[in-house]
C-alpha cells in the first residue's frame, strides 16, 4: 500500500534537485512504488479498479504537483546559490588596452578646415613643398636679395642652395602659378625658422589664406577674419583691432589683435579684457607678388593672411606649455590630444565642451 503522506513528507524534505529526482524514480520510475501499484489495477475487478484507480490517480496528482512545486523551489535556491558562489568584486576595473589620440594640432587643423571650408576656401592639395627655392620663398614674395626683410626670419639652407620655407606664403605663388586667378584657397603646413627658445621652435605650422578676384578689398579681409575668429573661439562677440604692420608680400599690411585676458593659461575673450593679443598677420596681396605670377594687379586684387597653428591651439585649448607639442611623451599627448570620435563639425558646434 502506498503511504502518500510519507511520500509527500519525503518530497518536502528533499534538499536538492538530485534528491528529488531520486525520489521521483523511487515513486514513479519503471519500478517505482506508484508505478507498481498502478500496474496492480489490471488484476482487479472492474468495480475494485474503479474505486482503487480513482484513489491512485488522486494520489499521483498530489505527488506530481508536490514534486513540481518542490522542484521549482529547489531550482531557484540552486540558481541563487550558484550565482552567489560566482559573485564578483564590482569595485575592480578591467584595464582597457591603450587608447589612441589625435594630436591637438590635427584637431585644430580640422577645425580650421571646417571654418574656412564653410567660407568657400579650398584646401591646397599638392604643390606645397617644405623645401623651397629662393624664388618662391623670397623673390616672388617681393623680398629681393639683401632686402632687410630677409633677416626678419632666419632661414635654414640645404646643401644644394634650396631652403626650408620660412612661411606658407610660398604656396600663394605656387598655387597662382598652377591655377591662375581668381583663387580662393587655404594651405596648412610646416614652416621652419632657425630660432629656438621659450616661445620659438625651429619648426611650426602655419595656415595661409589667399583670396584674389576682381573686387576683393581690405574690408573683405577684415570681415572674413572676424567671422573666422568668432567661429574658431566660439564666441558671438569678439572685440578685434586691426593694426598697421609690415610684410613684404602685402600692402597695406596689418596685424589683428583680440581683446582678452589670459589667466593661468586660460583665454577669456571680451571687451573687458585687459590686453590686446596679437593673433595673426594679413594684408592686401602686394602688386609685385601678383606681377611675379603674371597677374595684372590693376585688374585683380585680393587679400592674404597667415597664422601660427600652434599659437591658435595654445590659446583655444589653454595649453601654456608647448614643449610637449613636438615630443612623444604620451602623458602630454593623451592629456592634450583628442579622441578619435571627437570630430570637429561646424554644424553641431566645433568643439566638445
Amino acid at each position: 500500500m502506498i503511504d502518500k503522506n510519507e511520500i509527500l513528507a519525503k518530497i518536502g524534505n528533499a534538499r536538492t534537485t538530485s534528491e528529488l529526482e531520486t525520489l521521483n524514480v523511487e515513486v514513479m520510475g519503471k519500478s517505482g512504488v506508484l508505478t507498481l501499484a498502478l500496474r496492480e489495477l489490471g488484476k482487479m475487478t472492474p468495480d475494485e479498479r474503479k474505486v482503487k484507480g480513482a484513489e491512485l490517480n488522486q494520489i499521483k496528482m498530489e505527488i506530481v504537483s508536490a514534486m513540481d512545486a518542490k522542484k521549482s523551489e529547489l531550482e531557484l535556491l540552486e540558481i541563487n546559490a550558484n550565482l552567489e558562489s560566482d559573485k564578483i568584486d564590482i569595485s575592480l576595473n578591467k584595464a582597457e588596452s591603450g587608447k589612441g589620440y589625435v594630436h591637438p594640432l590635427t584637431q585644430v587643423r580640422e577645425e580650421l578646415l571646417q571654418i574656412f571650408g564653410s567660407l568657400g576656401f579650398r584646401l591646397v592639395s599638392a604643390n606645397d613643398p617644405d623645401i623651397e627655392d629662393d624664388f618662391h620663398n623670397f623673390t616672388a614674395l617681393n623680398v629681393p636679395p639683401f632686402h632687410p626683410a630677409r633677416s626678419m626670419q632666419d632661414t635654414f639652407f640645404l646643401d644644394g642652395g634650396n631652403l626650408l620655407r620660412t612661411q606658407t606664403s610660398s604656396v600663394q605663388i605656387r598655387e597662382m602659378e598652377r591655377t591662375g586667378v581668381p583663387v580662393k584657397v587655404i594651405t596648412m603646413g610646416r614652416v621652419y625658422r632657425s630660432d629656438w627658445d621659450a616661445t620659438h621652435t625651429p619648426m611650426f605650422h602655419q595656415i595661409e589664406g589667399l583670396y584674389v578676384d576682381k573686387n576683393i578689398n581690405m574690408s573683405h579681409l577684415k570681415g572674413c577674419l572676424i567671422d573666422f575668429l568668432k567661429a574658431f573661439f566660439e564666441v558671438d562677440d569678439i572685440p578685434t583691432q586691426f593694426r598697421p604692420s609690415y610684410f613684404p608680400f602685402t600692402e597695406p599690411s596689418a596685424e589683428m589683435d583680440i581683446r582678452c585676458t589670459i589667466q593661468n593659461g586660460e583665454l577669456k575673450i571680451g571687451a573687458n579684457g585687459n590686453r590686446w593679443l596679437e593673433i595673426l598677420g594679413c594684408g592686401m596681396v602686394h602688386p609685385n607678388v601678383l606681377k611675379s605670377v603674371g597677374v595684372d594687379p590693376d585688374e585683380y586684387q585680393g587679400f592674404a593672411f597667415g597664422m601660427g597653428i600652434e599659437r591658435l591651439t595654445m590659446l583655444k585649448y589653454g595649453i601654456s606649455d608647448m614643449r610637449g607639442c613636438f615630443g612623444s611623451d604620451t602623458r602630454w599627448l593623451s592629456h592634450y590630444g583628442f579622441e578619435a570620435d571627437d570630430v570637429p563639425n561646424i554644424i553641431t558646434g566645433l568643439s566638445k565642451k
Binding site: 584595464a95 588596452s97 591603450g98 589612441g100 589620440y101 589625435v102 594630436h103 580640422e110 578646415l113 571650408g117 567660407l119 568657400g120 579650398r122 584646401l123 592639395s125 599638392a126 613643398p129 617644405d130 623645401i131 623651397e132 627655392d133 618662391h136 639683401f146 632687410p148 633677416s151 635654414f156 639652407f157 640645404l158 646643401d159 626650408l164 610646416r190 621652419y192 632657425s194 629656438w196 625651429p202 619648426m203 578689398n217 581690405m218 574690408s219 573683405h220 570681415g223 572674413c224 586691426f242 593694426r243 598697421p244 613684404p248 600692402e251 597695406p252 596689418a254 596685424e255 592686401m284 602688386p287 613636438f326 615630443g327 612623444s328 611623451d329 604620451t330 590630444g337 578619435a340 570620435d341
Partner: protein, 795 residues
C-alpha cells in the same frame, strides 16, 4: 627702438599723455612693446626733512633722526654719512616698494630704536648708481612734497618706450621721424630742429679721396680744431642711459645723439691719428681691421673701407677703427657724414657678423639727402659743448637720390580698401608725411620725400592713407561660399581622415621634426644636409619618420613610460629640391598594450598588430586587403628579416612593416624591449574613385552554413597564406571562408615540418547540401593543400 617722452616732445608740440602717445604710435605702425615710466615706482614716496639728528648710542655710524613729513614727525634710524639736520631727502615709509630690489619696507627696530622709514639713496630709488649717501634735494622743496615733484628738479624722470621698427619704416629709427608721423596723424605739431649753415674758417687739413662713389655715394668730412673733449653732462649721460646707449665722451656722445634723434649716423676720427690722406675704397679681401669694439675682423672683397697711410681706419657705415678713435685727449677731430649703399652695408655686416646702431640704420635706408644737414647740426653741438673751430666741409661724391612721383587715382583707395576718404584728407595726410602732392582732379600725383623711399607705388600710398586715417575706420564685410567649391579634393580626402583611423586603433599621434641626426638615419646614403642646422643632431632632412618615433620610444623609456604606441602623418624627403617629398604615415608599437592587471588583458604587440595597422591604412584609401601583397623579398636591413614584410600594392613597394632589427634598436639605445613598426608612402595610394555611393546588395542564405576542419603536415617554409589561398581557390562557389586555427611545430613531427589546422565554412546557397555534396567540396579543399605539399594528418 628705445626713445623717451620728454625727448619726443622736443620735436613734437602735443598734449597727449605718455600712454596716449604709445597707443597712437601702435596704431600708426610703430608697435610700442613696452612703456616704462620712471615716475611710476616713485609715486608713493615723499619729501622728508631731517629736523633732529643724534648719534645712536650703541653704534658708531647710525643716526637717530626725527623726520618731518609735513603732517607729522617720524623717528627714523639712518646710517648715511651725509645725514644731518636741515637736509631734505626722499623718505620711504612702511609699505613703499623700494625700486632697487622690489622689497616692501617694513617698520622696524634698529638696535633698540624704532624706525618708521628710510631716507633713500639714488641707487635705492633706481635713479642712478650713487649709494654713498642719501639724496639731497634743493632748498625750494617742502617736507611732505611728492617725491616725483621734488626729484624732477634734479633728475630727468622720463617715460621710456620700446618700439618695434619694421623694415618699411626706417624713418622711425630717429626720434624726429616718430614725431613727424605723429604730427601727420594729427596728434601734434612737428617742431623741426633749426640747423644753421656754419661757414668754415679754413680748409679741412685732411685730404679725402673717394674711389668708391658707386656705393659710397657721399662722403663728407669737416675738420674741427682745438676741441676739448670731456665727459658728457649729467643730462646727456642720463638721456643715453635711458635709451640704453653708453656714454663714451662728449664728442662720441654727440654723434650718438644725432644718430638717435635725427637718424643720421656720423663718425668722429681723432684727426691727429690719421696719417696722410683718407681714401674711401673697396677692401681687396683678407685685410685685418681692428674695430672700436676691440675685435679684429678679416674683411671681404667689396667691403667699403676708409684708409690712411697706416691702413684701414674705418669700416664704412658699420664701425670705426680703434686706432683713430677719439679719446679724452683728442684735440682735433674729423667729423664724417656720409651715405653708403644699404645693400653693401648689409652684406658687409652679415658676412662679418657685426652689429652696430649705425649699420642698423644704413642697411634699412636712411635719408640720403641729409648728410650736410646732419653734419651742420652735429658741428654746432660740438662747438657748443667742446669748443673749437670748424673748417669748411670737404665733400666727395654726390647724392644719388632722384625724386620720383606716383600717379594715384583717388578711386583706387576705395577699390582697394572698401571705404572712401575725402580727397582733401588724402592730400593733407600725404603732405604731412612730407610728400609733395599735386591735385589733378581724379588723380593725385605724389612725390615721396627722400626719407620715405619705401613708398614705391599705389599700394604703398594706400597703406599710408589707411594707417594715418585710422585702421579702426575700416569696415568689415563678410566673405561667403559660393557653394560650388570643392573644399577638400580627391587627392587628400583620405589623408585627412587617416589620423582618426589610427587613433581609433589605439595609436597616439605625434608631430616630430622634419629634420633629424645623420647618425640615426636608417639608410645613410644620399643624406639631405642642412647647411646651418639648429643643432648638430638635427642636421639632415628625414627620409623616414621611423627614426624620430624610435627616439620618442627611447625618451619615453627613460621617463619610465613603458608603452609607446605612436604614429605620425607628415612629410619625408627624397631629394633637396622642392616637391621631392612624400606624405608618409609611420607607426610604432612597443610595450604592453595596456596596464598589466588582474584580468591579464595586456599583450605585447607583434608583427600581426602592425600588419593590421597597415591594412587599416590601406583600407582607408579604399584598398581591398586581397590586393595588398606582403613580400619577404628585399627586406631593409633595419628590420628583422624573419618578422617583417615589404608592402606591395599595384606592383609598387608602398612601405614596410615588421619588427625593428635588434641592432637598429641598439643604435637608438632602446634596451630590453622589442618594437614593431610600419611606414607607408601615402602618395602611392589610389585617389578617391568617382563611383556611386550605393553598397553592393547583401545576400543572406536561408540555409545554415556548414563547418569542417582538417589538419595537414607541411613543410614549415610554406606560408600559411598559401594554404588559405589554395583552399579558397579550390571552390570559390561554396567555400565562403577559411581560417587557420592551429599551428604546431615540435617533437611529434619530423624536423622542418609543421602541422596546420584549417577551418572551412561552406555556404549553402539555395538548398541543403547532401553529405556526398559536402564531401566533394571538403575533399577538394584537402586536395588543393596536398597539391602544394601538404599531407592530410587525420580526418
Amino acid at each position: 627702438m628705445l626713445f623717451t617722452y620728454n625727448q619726443l616732445k622736443k620735436f613734437l608740440d602735443t598734449n597727449l599723455t605718455p600712454d596716449e602717445i604709445a597707443n597712437k604710435l601702435t596704431m600708426l605702425g610703430l608697435e610700442i612693446e613696452e612703456v616704462k615710466d620712471m615716475k611710476a615706482p616713485l609715486a608713493d614716496f615723499i619729501v622728508g626733512e631731517i629736523v633732529e639728528c643724534a648719534a645712536h648710542p650703541d653704534s658708531d655710524h647710525l643716526h637717530l633722526l626725527k623726520v618731518n613729513i609735513g603732517s607729522e614727525v617720524l623717528n627714523v634710524v639712518c646710517g648715511a654719512p651725509n645725514a644731518r639736520k636741515g637736509l631734505k631727502g626722499i623718505l620711504a615709509r612702511p609699505g613703499n616698494i623700494i625700486p632697487l630690489d622690489g622689497t616692501k619696507l617694513k617698520k622696524g627696530m634698529v638696535r633698540g630704536y624704532e624706525s618708521c622709514g628710510m631716507m633713500c639713496s639714488e641707487k635705492e630709488l633706481g635713479l642712478g648708481e650713487n649709494h654713498d649717501g642719501i639724496i639731497e634735494l634743493p632748498g625750494d622743496v617742502k617736507a611732505g612734497d611728492s617725491a616725483v615733484f621734488a626729484l624732477s628738479k634734479i633728475y630727468n624722470l622720463d617715460v621710456v618706450y620700446d618700439g618695434n621698427v619694421l623694415p618699411n619704416h626706417p624713418d622711425y629709427l630717429g626720434v624726429l621721424g616718430i614725431a613727424r608721423d605723429l604730427a601727420a596723424g594729427g596728434f601734434g605739431k612737428l617742431l623741426m630742429p633749426e640747423v644753421k649753415e656754419i661757414k668754415g674758417s679754413f680748409k679741412s687739413l685732411i685730404t679725402v679721396e673717394n674711389n668708391a662713389t658707386k656705393d659710397a655715394h657721399e662722403f663728407n668730412t669737416r675738420y674741427i680744431k682745438n676741441v676739448k673733449n670731456s665727459e658728457s653732462s649729467k643730462w646727456v649721460k642720463d638721456y643715453l642711459s635711458s635709451v640704453e646707449m653708453n656714454s663714451i665722451s662728449a664728442l662720441v656722445d654727440i654723434t650718438n645723439y644725432c644718430l638717435h634723434n635725427l637718424n643720421r649716423p656720423l663718425h668722429v676720427f681723432d684727426a691727429d691719428k690719421i696719417k696722410g690722406k683718407l681714401v674711401v675704397d673697396y677692401a681687396k679681401g683678407g685685410e685685418e681691421f681692428v674695430a672700436l669694439d676691440g675685435n679684429t675682423y678679416i674683411l671681404n672683397a667689396g667691403d667699403i673701407v676708409i684708409k690712411d697711410d697706416n691702413g684701414i681706419q674705418s669700416l664704412a657705415g658699420v664701425m670705426g677703427g680703434l686706432a683713430t678713435s677719439c679719446t679724452m685727449e683728442t684735440k682735433n677731430v674729423l667729423l664724417e657724414s656720409a651715405y653708403f649703399n644699404p645693400v653693401v652695408i648689409r652684406k658687409t655686416a652679415k658676412q662679418l657678423k657685426i652689429e652696430s646702431d649705425s649699420k642698423a640704420r644704413f642697411e634699412r635706408g636712411i635719408d640720403p639727402c641729409c648728410t650736410i644737414w646732419g653734419m651742420e647740426y652735429a658741428t654746432q653741438m660740438i662747438l657748443d659743448i667742446c669748443g673749437g673751430e670748424a673748417s669748411e666741409i670737404c665733400k666727395t661724391g654726390k647724392c644719388e637720390f632722384k625724386e620720383y612721383s606716383i600717379d594715384f587715382p583717388v578711386a583706387y583707395f576705395a577699390k582697394r580698401v572698401g571705404f572712401d576718404i575725402p580727397k582733401a584728407d588724402m592730400i593733407t595726410i600725404l603732405s604731412n608725411l612730407g610728400c609733395k602732392v599735386k591735385d589733378n582732379t581724379e588723380i593725385i600725383t605724389v612725390t615721396p620725400p627722400s626719407y620715405r623711399q619705401d613708398i614705391e607705388g599705389k599700394a604703398d600710398i594706400t597703406e599710408e592713407l589707411v594707417r594715418v586715417y585710422g585702421f579702426e575706420k575700416l569696415p568689415a564685410i563678410s566673405v561667403e561660399a559660393s557653394g560650388d567649391e570643392k573644399v577638400v579634393d580627391a587627392k587628400i580626402v583620405h589623408k585627412t581622415k587617416l589620423p582618426r583611423v589610427l587613433a581609433s586603433r589605439g595609436l597616439i599621434e605625434v608631430y616630430t621634426w622634419s629634420f633629424m641626426s645623420d647618425k640615426k638615419e636608417l639608410d645613410t646614403r644620399d643624406s639631405i644636409r642642412i647647411v646651418n642646422p639648429i643643432t648638430n643632431d638635427l642636421n639632415v632632412m628625414r627620409k623616414s619618420i621611423i627614426p624620430n618615433l624610435l627616439d620618442g620610444i627611447k625618451t619615453n623609456l627613460s621617463r619610465s613610460i613603458m608603452t609607446s604606441n605612436l604614429f605620425e602623418v607628415g612629410p619625408t624627403f627624397y631629394g633637396d629640391k622642392p616637391t621631392e617629398q612624400n606624405t608618409t604615415v609611420a607607426g610604432v608599437r612597443q610595450g604592453l598594450s595596456g596596464v598589466k592587471d588582474w584580468a591579464n588583458n595586456a599583450k605585447l604587440p607583434d608583427f600581426y598588430d602592425v600588419k593590421n595597422d597597415v591594412l587599416a591604412v590601406l583600407s582607408t584609401f579604399g584598398v581591398n586587403p586581397s590586393s595588398v601583397k606582403f613580400s619577404t623579398e628585399n627586406i631593409p636591413s633595419w628590420l628583422n628579416p624573419y618578422k617583417s614584410a615589404v608592402v606591395v600594392f599595384a606592383n609598387k613597394v608602398v612601405g614596410y612593416v615588421g619588427e625593428i632589427h635588434p641592432l637598429t634598436l641598439k643604435k637608438f639605445g632602446i634596451k630590453n624591449t622589442s618594437v614593431v613598426a610600419f611606414e607607408i608612402n601615402l602618395d602611392l595610394m589610389p585617389d578617391v574613385k568617382s563611383k556611386g555611393t550605393a553598397k553592393k546588395k547583401l545576400v543572406i542564405s536561408d540555409f545554415l552554413p556548414i563547418s569542417r576542419d582538417f589538419a595537414v603536415i607541411i613543410d614549415e617554409n610554406v606560408p600559411c597564406g598559401n594554404i588559405l589561398n589554395a583552399v579558397k581557390a579550390s571552390n570559390k562557389e561554396y567555400i565562403k571562408d577559411a581560417v587557420i586555427f592551429d599551428i604546431y611545430k615540435g617533437e611529434k613531427l619530423e624536423v622542418g615540418k609543421k602541422s596546420v589546422a584549417v577551418h572551412i565554412i561552406i555556404e549553402q546557397r539555395d538548398k541543403t547540401l547532401t553529405e556526398d555534396e559536402i564531401n566533394v567540396i571538403f575533399n577538394g579543399a584537402i586536395a588543393s593543400v596536398e597539391k602544394i605539399g601538404g599531407k592530410l594528418r587525420d580526418k
